[in-house]
């Protein structure tokens, strides 16, 4: 039973954060494609901005992978009690939920930033920072999830 909950947590982390990133990168990609039709030389910059909301999916993958290796889905099988499994599930929630929402909002910010470089290509440095600000919260959530997963692993329950 514990294993089920823990795997559900890992799956949620990869699922929700991945969905968020897919949506964010998709949004930004549409704007980037629009910019490139007007000015193909901006491809590199547009690509960087498009990729920024993609990191949440990677964070989700990271937490999912950590969890799976802790509970023995990957590697050596270990005993996971129901309580521990639930704790793993909770530990995965921050990156799952924050990842989902922050990636979508970061995608929208990226769209706006692509608008900035469409009009002022030399302001790339500033345009890049706005989406990166949103990312902070995904990073904080990732941190909490990682620390929690490691912490749960150390508990004797």
């Amino acid at each position: 039973m514990g294993l089920t909950f823990a795997l559900l947590g890992a799956a949620l982390a990869a699922l929700l954060a991945g969905i968020g990133s897919a949506k964010g990168v998709g949004l930004a990609g549409q704007a980037a494609a629009g910019l490139v039709t007007e000015d193909p030389s901006q491809f590199g910059k547009a690509l960087v901005l498009q990729l920024l909301p993609g990191t949440q999916g990677i964070y989700g993958l990271l937490v999912a992978f950590l969890t799976m290796s802790q509970i023995g889905i990957i590697g050596n099988p270990v005993e996971v009690s129901t309580l521990k499994g639930l704790l793993y599930l909770i530990a995965c929630l921050p990156i799952a939920i924050v990842g989902l929402l922050s990636a979508i909002h970061q995608g929208k910010t990226s769209v706006a930033s692509i608008g900035v470089i469409a009009k002022k290509p030399d302001q790339f440095g500033k345009a890049m920072i706005f989406p990166a600000m949103v990312e902070t919260y995904a990073i904080l959530a990732l941190l909490v999830s990682i620390l929690a997963v490691f912490g749960v692993n150390g508990l004797n329950l």
Binding site: V48, L51, L52, G54, T55, I58, Y59, L61, L62, F65, L66, I74, F124, G125, K126, M128, I129, A132, M133, E135, T136, I139, L140, L142, L143, I146, L147, F150
Partner: protein
């Protein structure tokens, strides 16, 4: 090194030397022109718009011709064309080319005319094909479509919509004009869309018959052929063939002119420069025999400029810019720090009060990038690739070269941190040795392994953050001291040092914190007490001075309290450095995922092949994602956390009057 000191330069020279002097100044590219000089009766600015437009048009013509060549006679570009930079052109070649300008432009116009011909003729072909298409139903008609009839008969040739049989047409005619008998109808072809008819009747009945047919929707062809349709078809086909031939011929002509490419490229550069020159001339104040030029020049370029202008009869005056002038900013740093110039420019050039932050930023930049990318093998690859580019490609644009150098140093730093954390393609070594050789080999980390000691790594990240932030605060302190604002220095920097520094030391001394991070050292209680007192002094100081610009004591206190609230800003700034841990872990863990995926097929031959495939693709992907992440977040830490502490920005970059060429670098013999 830092911001280069700028001088104001004024040059007054004879008009007959204008052309020569402007040319030399453009080649030197050290003067930024401005139009400070007031116009009066003697000194007037010249309107050079017409010449400029003429030259810019030439640029367009040459560019268009180049595009034509690229379309019809493409040259294969080498894979890494963008890395080869601009070709160098010695001055002698430049001169021979400039003499051939008219000839080159003639070629350009020919090329454009050919392209136009090709386009027009190509557009003609579908039109001809459509005409043939329209003739298909009429092929069995053996008179021209325009055939009107004989002396006594009239021919009605045309189509009615829909499918009709001969009987139904006779039926309609009989119904509409029963009195006419001598009518001969022929159905040429009939489809569901239309029925093509050839109707013969007596001349005097023609209009009545046509009216009758019109009720069915009869219409003559819009462009009746003057020869029988089949003949018309072969004529049209012939025409298509000749058109095609003409297109091919024109294309061949274009291809034959491929050797003009260099000349055209030169023309683009040449006319761009001339247009720029006329733009500059337009900024000069000119009298009948002299002209007057003002601008900014970096102090270090002054002696050289003086020497260059020696042969001319001219007066040059150099002085320091005034206090309230908007002096342009040019940064100069040594090889280790100059990649930061691009990063600084990406935010904003340093303002009047700012120092150039590049030298201080550089070390932090490389270290942060290294911690986030955090894999020795990845770092080695990054440094290797960028190092080769730096060695092989000498002709790179200086700014592009600096970006490459940025990644070179970041790569080296990454190798260092990778060794510290014991990561080489993640845990590739352990996985390979385990899967394929049966016993595990690992390189132990020099410092510690962040995946198994995340709290330690978090602490290290925060420590770097505090150092980084305090360095920023130190620059603020320096700025205030340099401006002799000693009180501000204490209020805005020292108090914050006391508050944040004291707070951190006190926090580290607390048992809770010690437990959390498993620290092995204890802070003596006396130190904790002193730290708490310092933090208290800082807090009270900020509370009292934070709102010092307000006169009202109550308002002042409130504003002070608000500035004290800024301590949350410091908290979030420090927490923000946790991204060093998060991104570092991301690199390592994703690398581990790929290594594990690769090793799933076991230690046989198939397993080895799968492993190599997964390994190469996976790690390339991981490098791509994480270089981007490390770059963006290192920039963010510099821009938001670091610059936020002291940097005003808002400076104007130095844009010299120079050769802004696209294809060639004109080499200057000094």
């Amino acid at each position: 090194m830092a911001k280069l000191p700028m001088k104001r330069v004024q040059i007054c020279a004879l008009k007959r030397d204008r052309r020569q002097i402007m040319k030399i100044l453009q080649r030197r590219g050290v003067v930024e022109l401005d139009d400070e000089v007031q116009q009066d009766d003697t000194f007037q600015r010249m309107d050079t718009t017409d010449q400029r437009i003429l030259f810019e048009k030439n640029v367009q013509v040459a560019q268009q011709a180049l595009d034509v060549l690229d379309t019809y006679a493409p040259v294969k570009k080498p894979m890494l064309a963008m890395l080869s930079g601009k070709e160098e052109m010695p001055l002698t070649v430049y001169d021979t080319y400039s003499e051939k300008q008219d000839e080159i432009m003639e070629h350009a116009r020919t090329l454009n005319a050919l392209a136009k011909e090709i386009a027009e003729r190509s557009a003609n072909i579908p039109k001809l094909q459509a005409q043939i298409e329209a003739l298909v139903p009429w092929f069995s008609l053996d008179v021209p479509q325009s055939f009107k009839g004989t002396k006594t008969t009239a021919a009605l040739i045309g189509a009615v919509p829909g499918e009709h049989s001969l009987e139904s047409i006779y039926g309609v005619l009989a119904e509409r004009c029963p009195e006419i008998e001598a009518v001969d109808c022929n159905v040429i072809s009939s489809t569901t869309d239309q029925t093509c008819l050839f109707v013969l009747c007596r001349r005097e009945n023609a209009s009545a018959v046509e009216d009758a047919l019109r009720t069915m929707g009869f219409a003559r062809p819009s462009m009746p052929s003057t020869v029988p349709p089949l003949e018309e078809k072969s004529r049209l086909e012939e025409e298509i063939l000749t058109t095609q031939k003409a297109i091919d011929q024109a294309k061949e002509q274009v291809a034959a002119m491929a050797d003009q490419r260099e000349g055209l490229r030169f023309a683009v550069d040449y006319y761009t420069m001339r247009a720029d020159r006329y733009e500059a001339v337009g900024r000069l104040a000119q009298s009948k025999r002299t002209f007057f030029l003002t601008g900014y020049v970096p102090a270090e370029a002054v002696p050289n400029l003086e020497k260059t202008l020696e042969p001319f009869d001219c007066a040059m005056e150099v002085n320091d810019p005034g206090e309230d002038e908007d002096v342009p900013v040019l940064l100069k740093n040594n090889g280790f720090n100059d990649p930061m110039e691009g990063v600084v420019a990406g935010y904003s050039m340093p303002g009047k009060e700012d120092i150039d932050p590049s030298p201080i930023m550089a070390i932090f930049y490389y270290v942060f990038f290294g911690i986030m990318f955090s894999d020795a093998a990845y770092g080695f690859l990054l440094a290797l690739v960028t190092g080769i580019i730096l060695l092989k490609c000498k002709g790179l644009e200086p700014s592009f070269r600096k970006s490459i150098k940025l990644f070179f140093y970041c790569g080296i730093s990454t190798v260092f941190w990778g060794v510290m954390f014991g990561s080489y393609f993640g845990d590739a070594l352990a996985v390979i040795s385990n899967t394929f050789f049966g016993h595990e080999v690992t390189i132990p980390p020099v410092l510690f392994d962040p995946v198994s000691n995340p709290m330690k790594m978090l602490l290290l990240s925060f420590a770097f953050g505090v150092v980084h932030l305090f360095t920023g605060l130190a620059i603020l302190l320096y700025k205030k001291l340099r401006a002799h604002a000693y009180a501000d220095a204490i209020y805005d920097a020292v108090f914050w040092y006391l508050l944040v520094g004291g707070g951190i030391v006190y926090l580290v001394g607390m048992p809770m914190f010690q437990n959390m991070f498993d620290l092995s050292f204890a802070v003596p209680s006396i130190v904790s007490t002193v730290a708490a007192v310092c933090a208290g002094i800082g807090a009270v100081g900020i509370l009292l001075t934070g709102g010092r610009e307000s006169r009202n004591p109550f308002k002042r206190l409130l504003k002070g309290a608000y500035s004290l609230y800024n301590v949350t800003g410091y908290l979030s700034d420090i927490l923000s450095y946790s991204r060093l841990l998060a991104l570092g872990l991301a690199t390592g863990v994703i690398a581990t995922v790929f290594n594990q995926m690769g090793s799933m097929m076991g230690g046989n031959i198939v397993g080895a092949i799968v492993f190599i495939l997964v390994f190469v693709i996976g790690h390339v992907l991981n490098i791509g994602i994480n270089v981007l992440g490390a770059y963006v977040h290192t920039n963010r830490l510099q821009y938001v956390e670091f610059f936020g502490k002291f940097y005003d920005g808002g400076g104007r970059a130095f844009v010299p009057y120079a050769m802004h060429t696209k294809y060639y670098r004109i080499k200057e013999e000094m």
